[in-house]
């Protein structure tokens, strides 16, 4: 009964490959996000979707393509993986579109590009 779940938790792949990370939330929230934690440990927003509509695209390379089939799911597809894509990717959701927003995070997906 995990609130925000991501799969896979660990992903090791070669440069140039395409990979996807899936995220599902069972909290009934309207808004979902992808955050990236880089090697310096900063968490930075990548995308925000509200009820399947893209709200935030934080100048992420277009090799990254989020897809929201419904408001409970937000998947992240990455084409032509590069070494610099190695990071921990966190999915999150929130009960409100904005304002004073508390985000609920998944456990993270550690991507290693070799």
């Amino acid at each position: 009964d995990t609130a925000v779940s991501q799969t896979p938790k660990y992903l090791v792949t070669q440069m140039g490959n395409d990979k996807s990370i899936k995220c599902e939330q069972n909290l009934g929230h309207d808004t979902m996000y992808w955050y990236k934690q880089d090697s310096k440990k900063f968490l930075k927003i990548m995308f925000s979707y509200n009820n399947k509509e893209l709200i935030i695209n934080e100048t992420v390379p277009n090799r990254f393509s989020p897809k929201s089939p419904d408001k409970a799911h937000l998947n992240l597809h990455i084409n032509s993986l590069e070494l610099g894509d190695s990071a921990v990717y966190f999915c999150a959701s929130s009960p409100k579109r904005g304002g004073f927003t508390e985000l609920f995070f998944g456990e993270g997906s550690r991507l290693t590009v070799l």
Binding site: V4, T31, Y33, K40, K41, F42, L43, K44, I45, S48, N50, I55, I56, E58, F90, A92, S94, K96, R97, G98, G99, F100, T101, E102, L103, F104, F105, G106, E107, G108
Partner: protein, 117 residues
């Protein structure tokens, strides 16, 4: 250009004593601040928050203080417990003209808190 900074990478405290974690920010548009706690191999979990219209918010053992003029906030944990050992992230958001932040949080790089028994 990091708009939220946690200048102490780590903090070590004895059980029962006070833990004080600090956070500085540069963006005067930030109007809501949050603290998240993260255990290894888990996602960050929300701990406590404060609106810019307040200078203090308390929840059990956790108190957050906001000094807007200094662009500084701190998290106090009293008394500290070994189970509090984790990474603590400070985060901030700014509502746009429409009154929404769209959930965009700007995080600091975290402070590792270790509470010794």
């Amino acid at each position: 250009d990091q708009q939220v900074k946690q200048n102490s990478p780590s903090l070590s405290v004895q059980e029962g004593r006070i833990s004080i974690l600090n956070c500085d920010y540069t963006n005067s548009m930030f109007d809501y601040f949050l603290w998240y706690k993260k255990y290894p191999a888990e996602g960050p979990t929300f701990l406590i928050s404060i609106s810019s219209i307040k200078d203090k918010n308390e929840d059990g053992r956790f108190t957050v203080f906001l000094n807007k003029s200094a662009k500084h906030l701190s998290l106090h944990i009293v008394p500290s417990q070994p189970g509090d050992s984790a990474v603590y992230f400070c985060a901030a958001s700014a509502a746009n003209a429409g009154g929404t932040s769209y959930g965009k949080l700007t995080f600091g790089q975290g402070t590792i808190l270790t509470v010794h028994p």
